[in-house]
Amino acid sequence: MDVDPRIGDILKALSINSSVQVRHGANNAFDIIGSVVRPLLLEFGLPGIYISASRAAIEIIDALMEEGIDPSPMHFIDLVSTSTIGGTDVSHTNISFIDSPVMLEAIMLRTMYFQRARPDEQMFVILDSVHALSIYNEPRMLAEYIHTFVNTFRHRNTLSILLTIPDQVAPEVLSNMDLYCTELIDRGDLIIG
């Protein structure tokens, strides 16, 4: 995992209610995740919620730990592991599972539940990823969800970060991200390091 320090610099300049669209390619996903998570946890000391729709939460946790990033201040909402019998059999207490990536409102409710437990804390929410959700959800519904997601967390004074591979997402979804996110970080297929 190669960390791009410029992403941390951009995040540092943002207000807490910003919504950031992070575009990346198929080959640098883990580098981008590390580049986003590292400054949030280690430099800003923010707790957060990580919605893992691209891959199992345990995979993200292992990758971060290998890089010396302690993921325990994050709660993971895993949308992937319930598709495998035994996939939810993990020892980490900071992972919860949702039955399916089509249950978009359930993702919102789960994040709100964890925020409710820490009402006075500033937090971030990472949605990894819009392109994974687009496998299961119709573009018009996903576009509506992005609209709701961004506005909900902005209203709740929460930094929201939406990861996506743009060419894997329908144009109407992407245009909604462009419309409603306040910042764009585009790393394409750039290999860091």
Partner: protein
């Protein structure tokens, strides 16, 4: 939603996440509200959370359970963080088994006549009056109505009960069971419960690509300009939580 009028009825705040917001402040005091839903959609949890919130404010609350014994009910709700058994021990939440009450009234029979119904209404209102109950849940009114042989008697029973409780200033949730087939035009098993209620709250399931998602919708609530949209709900350890259902996913 239009801006509110100058006169606003006093509200019984439910304390349920999102509920008071979509009711624009809570249930108008003294209302009888039908909470109708399919199995497993959160009716009992919602009723208990409503009582717990009131009890924490120092209000006397009562729960009449007809679908399961009180011991089992309390065991089931203890899994929730919002519940505190101390509220039962201290007498702020009073749980009554309908079977025990019926035995006590000599009503352990298969069908109720008019006198039986009057006796039952009197017993419930006497308890409410004696304890000074301001929040009441009857779970479920469907189970009670199974013993009432005609729609007219069911209507009389619910109307008299609702009127008596409103006079006592008690806000009541009447839990009703509906099957997924019942959904649509009817919000109750017998089709008469909804007509005499001040409010109707529907809980149910929407299927999305093979997954059942719980929802709540307030169909009617006299005395408040409430939302009539559909909301997704989740039963969390902290109680019911809700968020607006995606419009493209509501079918």
């Amino acid at each position: 939603m239009l801006p509110g009028t100058a006169y606003v009825r006093d509200r019984c705040v439910t304390g349920i996440h999102g509920m008071d917001e979509i009711l624009r402040g809570g249930v108008p005091y003294g209302s009888t509200v039908l909470v109708a839903g399919t199995c497993g959609c959160g009716k009992t949890t919602m009723g208990m959370e409503f009582l717990v919130y009131g009890a924490r404010l120092g209000e006397a609350c009562a729960h009449f359970t007809a679908t399961e014994p009180s011991v089992k009910l309390l065991e089931n709700v203890r899994q929730y963080n919002f519940f505190d058994i101390g509220l039962v021990d201290s007498g702020l939440i009073n749980v009554f088994d309908m079977d025990v009450l019926n035995d006590w009234l000599g009503l352990n029979k298969s069908t109720f006549d008019k006198d039986d119904i009057n006796a039952l209404v009197k017993a419930i209102t006497d308890i409410v009056n004696t304890i000074g109950v301001t929040r009441l849940v009857i779970d479920s009114v469907t189970t009670l109505c199974y013993k009432i042989p005609s729609d007219q008697l069911i209507r009389d029973f619910l109307f008299t009960l609702g009127k008596s409780l409103a006079t006592l200033g008690c806000t009541t949730l009447l839990v009703a069971e509906i099957t997924s087939k019942t959904g649509g035009a009817n919000y109750s098993s017998f089709g008469v419960e909804e007509a005499i209620s001040d409010g109707i709250v529907i809980l149910g399931d929407v299927e999305r690509m093979g997954h059942l998602m719980r929802y709540i919708q307030i169909v009617k609530m006299r005395g408040t300009n409430h939302s009539r949209a559909r909301y997704n709900i989740e039963l969390t350890p902290a109680g019911l939580m809700m968020t607006p259902m995606l419009k493209w996913g509501a079918q």
